[in-house]
């Protein structure tokens, strides 16, 4: 178990910039998630930590020791790949034994066997041990692959989208298992995903990456409630945050056709400001100050996503349970003004002084 520290890591592939001055400090036993769209540099970051890729600039530290020139085998990390992670032509048992039989470690046969049985039990794959890996389902494969990581106690788990090739139901259950496992095993984990739900549900802390740069680091709450930019705001949260332009007039922010109006106390006057409202912060009620037409409903059971059309914007709202509003009906709604997000037109967050929490 180790603290992993990245110091201004940069990496280019040919002309393409993969990572640009990425610095991270991952605490011992922390479940750290790297979130970002495809090509953001998440996997490259993992590979640099594992030693599979050499950074062009910057340093990697495990605890206090510099590991830049240490080959992958000696870094003692465990890597769970998105796919192709199991050695073909080997049984599950042999796969699990493989890292333990490395010439770098000398476990005796009994110890190896005990560790494998242990890991298999934790992951509920004991019945699969004699099976060839080609005859496993996707979920079983990823379990074995995680098993290969936990049979030894590596300094860090590196997981590269281990759940993204699985179907939705399986992903959910493995997500819970993984999180539980990480907490009981007490192992520093770096988990890469493009799925914001995975990121929010699993992470102790997460970093949002885009185009090889870190946009924001924080706890899931931080990222969700105080997104540093419109990019982060739009990346996390489903349905997406409502984002629209407003103009500053008379100490208030108006949407372009004045359908919406917000208090702007504590904001610097600017010609244009972007306002973000999370769908759950819009509540449809008879006492509401604003009005809009219902254009579409997506009932999900526990809640319904209602698409509203005001005079100037389309807004998404979440209503608990099944909504009884008719499509085409005009409804009144209220906005939780404590939870508004303000951004500059360039997408940078504006902190309203003394108003919003």
């Amino acid at each position: 178990m180790s603290r992993i520290r990245l110091e201004t890591i940069s990496k280019t592939f040919g002309e393409e910039l993969a990572l640009s001055k990425v610095s991270l400090d991952i605490q011992d036993n922390e479940f750290f998630v790297l979130l970002g769209p495809t090509g953001a540099g998440k996997t490259t970051t993992l590979r640099v930590i594992a030693g599979l890729e050499k950074q062009d600039a910057g340093h990697v530290y495990f605890d206090e020791s510099l590991v830049d020139s240490i080959p992958p085998a000696d870094r003692d990390t465990a890597f769970v790949f998105q796919q192709y992670s199991l050695y073909p032509n080997m049984t599950v048992y042999e796969n699990l034994a493989f890292p333990l039989k490395s010439p770098l470690r000398n476990f005796d046969a009994a110890d190896i066997d005990r560790r494998i049985k242990d890991a298999a039990e934790k992951l509920r794959i004991t019945h699969l041990l004699e099976r060839k890996t080609a005859r496993l389902s996707g979920g079983e494969m990823q379990r074995v692959s995680i098993g290969r990581a936990i049979v030894r106690k590596p300094r860090v788990f590196l997981m590269d989208e281990p759940l993204s090739n699985l179907d939705a139901k399986l992903r959910e259950s493995l997500r819970v298992e993984l999180k539980h496992l990480q907490k009981t095993q007490e192992v520093t984990t770096l988990f890469v995903t493009h799925d914001q739900i995975e990121a929010l549900t699993m992470a102790d802390r997460l970093a949002v990456l885009n185009n090889g740069k870190i946009i924001q680091i924080g706890s899931p709450d931080d990222i969700y409630d105080r997104p540093a930019s419109t990019f982060v705001a739009q990346l996390v949260g489903t349905p997406r945050i409502n984002l629209f332009e407003t103009e500053f007039a008379g100490g208030k922010l108006h949407s372009l056709k004045n359908a919406l109006e917000f208090d702007a106390t504590g904001l610097e006057p600017a010609s244009k400001t972007l306002v973000g409202i999370r769908p759950e912060d819009i509540s449809i009620s008879a006492q509401g100050t604003f009005h809009a037409k219902v254009v579409l409903k997506e009932p999900l059971g526990v809640e319904t996503i209602v698409h509203l059309q005001t005079e100037d914007n389309k807004l998404l709202a979440i209503v608990p349970g099944i909504s009884h509003h008719q499509i085409g009906e005009t409804v009144k709604f209220e906005v939780n003004s404590d939870r508004l997000h303000f951004f500059t037109t360039e997408g940078e967050r504006i902190e309203a002084k003394g108003v919003a929490a």
Partner: protein, 332 residues
């Protein structure tokens, strides 16, 4: 432990009811195709069958017109292939007929009025063929796999130029360079040596081995090795434990092709050897000559010559189909 054998999953046999699978026409078409394949196979096998028959014919049977399909098999051909003989005079012949220490080969020779005076060169040539083909195949595969792995996995400056350069060694019919190589070998003392032919065949086969193996290794996802690297193995250990077992199909296919090339090579073997390192292919036609064409002996030699290639191909047949169709059927 599972009770069922893992290789034979129990599955209910479902007889398809799809019209396109059970209709009269598809069934007919399938039978027609199978029939055609059998006929084609028979036609292609015919020369081999005829050769095998000739190998067991007596001298008059081998040249009889019309050709004999039914005949009494004899090992005369093999005896005349494998031994050197001398014609006996009439008095000697009478002598010989009285002798009781003759083995079956002597007796066969005696039928033609000949006495065996020793083994012929052919067994030696056959042994040379085996030594040279096996060694050059091994070397081609060994270097080919290593080079292919490097080309496949590492960033090599000028990679595509190098690969083209390697391939360009096959862009000329090899026979064109026979004379220069002959002169070179004479000067270097490689003429009529095993090592000379081994080097030559390895050089020819290496380009082929590199290209073929590169294709196979490219198909092995590099994640496997990376997983092994992270799991505590060096690059070389990962190569041996992870890559090699998966490249076995490619290695098998490349082995067969390389071996057959070296085994069948005629022109260079004829030019660059005289006796000590002479291989079987140029040795066979030299049977034609003194005392008319010994068809049975030549057929017997060809038959013996075929056997090692058949054994190798048969042993590796499982991998061969995949190797031959490689590139034509690519997975996703």
């Amino acid at each position: 432990m599972a009770l069922r054998s893992p290789s034979a999953p129990k599955q209910d046999v479902v007889i398809s009811t799809r019209v396109d699978k059970v209709g009269l026409r598809p069934a007919l078409l399938r039978n027609f195709r199978a029939g055609l394949a059998v006929v084609a196979a028979l036609i292609m096998l015919l020369p081999a069958v005829w050769m095998s028959m000739t190998a067991f014919k007596s001298r008059p049977d081998a040249v009889s017109v019309p050709p004999k399909v039914f005949f009494t098999p004899t090992l005369e051909g093999f005896v005349s292939l494998l031994t050197d003989r001398r014609q006996l005079s009439n008095t000697e012949l009478e002598d010989y007929k009285q002798r009781t220490d003759l083995n079956w080969m002597d007796k066969l020779a005696l039928k033609r009025g000949q006495a065996i005076i020793g083994w012929s060169e052919f067994p030696k040539h056959l042994r040379n063929s085996i030594i040279i083909s096996v060694t050059s195949t091994f070397l081609s595969i060994f270097f080919g796999v290593l080079a292919a792995y490097a080309f496949s996995r590492f960033k090599i400056p000028g990679e595509s130029d190098l690969l083209f350069f390697i391939l360009s060694t096959r862009m000329l019919p090899p026979v064109v360079v026979t004379i220069p190589i002959f002169l070179m070998y004479r000067a270097l003392g490689l003429f009529d040596t095993h090592i000379g032919l081994i080097l030559l065949y390895t050089a020819f086969n290496l380009s082929f081995a590199v290209w073929l193996m590169k294709g196979f290794i490219d198909e092995i996802p590099k994640e496997y090795e990376e997983a092994a690297l992270v799991d505590g193995y060096t690059r070389l250990q990962a190569f041996r434990k992870i890559v090699l077992p998966q490249a076995i199909t490619g290695i098998a296919a490349t082995t067969v092709f390389s071996f057959i090339f070296a085994w069948n090579e005629y022109a260079f073997a004829l030019m660059l050897t005289s006796s000590a390192a002479r291989t079987a292919p140029p040795s066979l036609p030299s049977r034609i000559g003194t005392g008319g064409v010994e068809w049975a002996a030549i057929a017997a030699g060809s038959l013996l010559f075929l056997i090692p290639a058949i054994i190798l191909t048969f042993a590796l047949r499982k991998h061969l189909l995949r190797g031959v169709t490689f590139g034509a059927i690519r997975k996703g």
